[in-house]
């Protein structure tokens, strides 16, 4: 029996190693290519460690593209959108979960039904709205639509439904009004839910592509996701400019590393937050 367990464990570790290698190899290859001299990129020899490593591709990318600007834009937009969502959704979610008013359930049903409406339907009208306001190519055009999200409200409502009502009753007896209860009693309890909403919102704002592609015209507000997409789509005709892989991997590395490091640092919260979104549906 013990022998059999040892064999099973060995097998398990072999499979684990295989999974880790397959999932991480593309990332390693990206970083490796980014640091390789030109001659070592276009070869059928597999070389993981660049010899000698070079920064030339990073220099090329940084001198030709406003990649820092895109990065700053992405950070500003995703952060502002996350803060906006946390504030609006914790207020709205609380009202939908813990207050009684006429039409509450109908209102919630309407909000929830928008989960099934693909964002693509809203994009043309959104574009017209922001064009009329003269807000195309601004941060506002990228941030405000995120505030209209459904998932955050749903998650906050679910969380507020789960906390015991005695706490609010006790605070009310002590003379607190609804705003004080929300700010001092309920929000501190909601930290896990807020963190989950923050992580999911940040990730989706950071990755957003369709709307930012349409809503931005210049580097002024263009986020990283849209900027990076130009690297291979601006290729002339169908003939790929072959030597462009070094710079595009350097750009990809600059774009990929911040969220990867962020994820490594906060992995437990990340995974918990993401698995909470699975509650929707």
């Amino acid at each position: 029996m013990r022998r059999r367990n040892a064999i099973v464990a060995t097998l398990w570790y072999a499979v684990l190693a295989g999974i880790i290698v397959v999932m991480m190899a593309p990332v390693a290859w990206m970083i490796s290519t980014a640091f390789k001299p030109e001659l070592q990129i276009l070869t059928t020899q597999i070389r993981w460690i660049p010899d000698p490593p070079t920064l030339e591709h990073f220099q090329t990318v940084l001198s030709r593209h406003a990649i820092w600007r895109w990065l700053v834009n992405s950070v500003v937009v995703a952060t502002a959108a996350t803060l906006l969502v946390l504030l609006l959704d914790s207020l709205a979610g609380y009202a939908l979960a813990r207050m009684e008013f006429f039409g509450r359930d109908a209102l919630f049903a309407v909000i929830l039904s928008m989960l099934f409406v693909p964002l693509q339907i809203t994009v043309i009208p959104l574009f017209l709205i922001f064009a009329n306001l003269g807000l195309v190519d601004t941060y506002a055009a990228l941030i405000l639509p995120v505030g209209a999200n459904v998932t955050g409200v749903f998650l906050m409502r679910q969380f507020f439904l789960s906390i015991p009502g005695e706490l609010e009753d006790a605070a009310r007896v002590d003379g607190a009004n609804d705003w004080q209860i929300w700010a001092r009693v309920v929000l501190p309890l909601a930290r896990p839910a807020l963190l989950a909403v923050a992580i999911v919102t940040f990730l989706s704002a950071w990755n957003a592509f369709f709307w930012p592609l349409i809503a931005t015209r210049s580097d002024a507000a263009r986020p990283l996701a849209v900027g990076i997409a130009q690297f291979l789509t601006l290729r002339p005709g169908l003939a790929q400019t072959v030597q462009a892989y070094g710079p595009s991997m350097a750009a990809a590395t600059i774009a990929a590393l911040p969220p990867i490091l962020f994820f490594f640092a906060l992995q437990r919260h990340f995974i918990q937050g993401v698995s909470m979104t699975g509650l929707k549906g």
């Binding site: 593309p26 609006l88 099934f116």
Partner: protein
Amino acid sequence: MRILAPAGFQARAAARKRIHWTPFLFLAPYLFLFVSLRLGPSLIGLAISFTNWSAVGVPQWVGLANYQALFIDPRFRDALTNTVIFTAMAVPALVGLGLAFALFLNQPHRGRGLGRVAVFTPYVIMPTVVGVLWTWILEKDFGLLNVLLGRQIPWLVSPSWAMLGLVLAAVWSMVGYNTVLFLAGLQDIPTELYEAARIDGANAWRSFWSLTLPLLAPTAFLVLMLTIINTFQVFDLVYVMTSGGPGTSTLTMVQYVYTTAFQFFKFGYGSAVAMVMFVILVIVALIQTRAYRRGLESIY
């Protein structure tokens, strides 16, 4: 008693007042954005799909003309077919692998945390970066995959391989999300159930079929639904890796919405394409919910 009574009365009066206003103040900021930037635009999108609007000029009501035109539009047919093919290839892989990874990484061995991190890492990389990265990995002559295979498969540049190339990139980048959802589902199953099954003489295989799978059904249903919705709306990977080509071999629905509406500025027609997507998604969701209810009835 007499002292307390007026206080209670006041509180009740105050409560009545709160019921009228406070909830709406709590909801107002969100509802303002929700109505103006989500609900409103959705309804306007529906309305635009009945017009022939093309960015300039006054939109004219054309009834169902756009929808009729869709029926005989070969590019729309390609987009629909390709999207269905992409979904049909990616969804089983994403759900199957997600479940397999979750079952595997749920085993009580040290190092499984590392495996979870590795599986989830691609998901935090933005899809356009994934697209740029996989375009390089799938390069015909020097791409990592072909070099490893010792072949020169024309991924992405040949109509017959391009779709598979996209699916590979999509599965790599999104499987971590499903794994995390399945892991959460597995951890919700009480361990006592397994102990009880073991005492009753069930082996590992038997308790997997009779306990794990049925209890995982709600999670599986959810994961399947989310995966279908996500893959059906694939855009960023396609935009970066193939732009719908070669020819129309990887043209997808969202890509088609984008080109008709924002490159040819046919807002009415583009909206109609988006509405068809919505209708298909709703139908899929309804069928799935029904099948799921049936399935549950047959289990219990």
